[in-house]
Amino acid sequence: MDHKTALQEAVSEIFENMAFQELTPMLKNPLPAQVLWSFRQATMTIYSPIQGTLVMTISPSMMRSVTANVLGMDTAEVDVGMESDVLAEMLNTMAGAWMRKITDVSQPYELGLPDTTEADYIDSKTAEFHCVFNADGDFIEVAFFLVS
């Protein structure tokens, strides 16, 4: 399985298993760059077997509903701290699921610790590959950047 297909599968599986959220893969992000302000973003370094950074970007409204689903609470109870923690844990779990799909059972892999931030835009032009998903009209992008 190629790396992009494996990542696409891993993202779909993790959102379904952790947040009960079905994602529809899209060919490209349908939003123009200028409206992509204040997105929530999580990044994580992958040290081996490939070296690079995995980045997940998600709209604030989507992050709120995903967090509520994962934590089993109402969206009104969700705060930014909870969102950051859920986002980081989802990327961490996603990265592991992706690695298991692209590595042999005997091949070790090493992941860094996830970090979260606010993103002012999605710059996937320099990404090795990226996957975009639609979820009830909201959008999620996951991109992998090779270490240059």
Binding site: I14, N17, M18, V70, L71, G72, M82, D85, V86, A88, E89, N92, T93, A95, G96, A97, M99, R100, T103, V105, S106, Q107, P108, Y109, E110, L111, L113
Partner: protein, 131 residues
């Protein structure tokens, strides 16, 4: 022999509060309810809690800052006071070889994230049968 009834205190170790909450929910679903849950966000804090509490079960992540789960596992299994405590490792960084290595240094079970009640139940049943 360890059993669900004998467990009183469970130490859950993960740097993610979300992961700790999911693990606690899964443990409750598989029957480990009405137990005392204590939590740490890294191995070093977990060791401190082990010193202060009589812990019956440890459920830990691997990839954590300060002191990772493998170092914690080695600390527990290398201690005369703690080596009998069952340790379940729940991690995003596991495959067959890594799982075997963790079992060799004393992990009773290794489960891949995202954890679910079925996987945790199967691991717990094995531990209860083996101890």
């Amino acid at each position: 022999m360890i059993s669900t009834e004998l467990v009183q205190t469970i130490l859950v170790v993960d740097d993610s509060g979300t992961a700790r909450m999911i693990i606690k929910q899964c443990l409750t679903i598989i029957g480990l309810k009405d137990k005392k849950f204590i939590e740490a966000s890294n191995g070093r804090d977990a060791v401190e809690l082990l010193r202060q509490n009589a812990v019956d079960l440890v459920v830990t992540d691997l990839n954590m800052p300060v002191m990772d789960g493998e170092a914690l596992l080695l600390e527990i299994k290398g201690s005369a006071a703690w080596q009998q405590i069952p340790v379940i490792v729940i991690t995003s960084t596991s495959n067959d070889v890594r799982e075997k290595a963790l079992r060799e240094v004393g992990a009773e079970a290794v489960i891949s994230k995202p954890v679910n009640p079925a996987a945790l139940h199967a691991a717990w049943k094995k531990i209860c049968g083996a101890k």
